[in-house]
C-alpha cells in the first residue's frame, strides 16, 4: 500500500522555468512533510520540510505548497537550473509514532541547459 503518491515519475524543464512536483497522501495523521534531493551516486539529502500548520514554506528558489484539506503538497522550483537536475522524493511521517518516514517513489528532474 503506497501511503505517499508522487507525480510525475520524470520531468523535463527548460532552464529558467518552474519545476512542479506533486504528492498526495491518505493518512491524515501525517504531520511532517520533508522533501529530499538525491544526485546520482549520492545519498538523499533534506531539501526543505513543512508542517501542516502552514500552507507554504519558501527557501530560496524552493517552495513547498501544502493543501491540508486536499491532502496534497507540492514542491515548486523557481528559475530551475541545470544543477537542480536530480531525483526528488517527497515524504511524510507521524511525529508521535515510530521513526518511520514514508517516501514517495521519486521524480527524476532534468533541467535542459
Amino acid at each position: 500500500q503506497q501511503q505517499v503518491k508522487q507525480s510525475p515519475q520524470s520531468l523535463i524543464v527548460q532552464k529558467g522555468g518552474i519545476s512542479i512536483i506533486n504528492c498526495a497522501y491518505e493518512n491524515t495523521a501525517f504531520d511532517y512533510f520533508p522533501w529530499y534531493q538525491q544526485f546520482p551516486g549520492k545519498g538523499p539529502a533534506l531539501l526543505i520540510a513543512i508542517r501542516p500548520d502552514v500552507s507554504e514554506k519558501k527557501e530560496g528558489r524552493f517552495t513547498i505548497s501544502f493543501n491540508k484539506s486536499a491532502k496534497q503538497f507540492s514542491l515548486h522550483i523557481m528559475d530551475s537550473q541545470p544543477g537542480d537536475s536530480a531525483t526528488y522524493f517527497c515524504a511524510a511521517s507521524i511525529y508521535w509514532e515510530d521513526d518511520k518516514i514514508i517516501f514517495g517513489k521519486g521524480t527524476r528532474l532534468h533541467i535542459l541547459p
Binding site: D31, Y32, P34, Q38, G41, K42, G43, P44, A45, L46, A49, T87, F89, S93, I94, Y95, E97, D98, D99, K100, I101, F103, K105, G106, R108
Partner: protein, 114 residues
Amino acid sequence: DTAVSQTPKYLVTQMGNDKSIKCEQNLGHDTMYWYKQDSKKFLKIMFSYNNKELIINETVPNRFSPKSPDKAHLNLHINSLELGDSAVYFCASSQVSGSRDEQFFGPGTRLTVL
C-alpha cells in the same frame, strides 16, 4: 569530514554468500537507519536503531540482520544472498527520533548479486 560513511561502496557477490555492509556516523546522532533503494529508485526503510536499540524492523527477510556495536555504528549483515537483494543500501542517521528530524544519508552501497 564525512558525516555518514559506508563501506564498501560497491559489493559484487555470488548468490548464497553472506556479506556485511558497515556504517559509521560521526555526528553524535542517537538514531541510525538502513534503507533499500531498488532499481526504480524506490526508497524503503528496513531498520531503525536508537541508542543501540532496535526501533523499526520492517518486513524484511530474516536473512537481513542489523548489528549496532555502539551508537556510532550500525552494520548490516545479509545471509544467503539472493538475486532480489541487488539494490543500493543507504545508511542514515538523525539527532533524535527521525520522524521529525533531518536524516543524514550515507553515500550508499551498491550490492550486485550474481
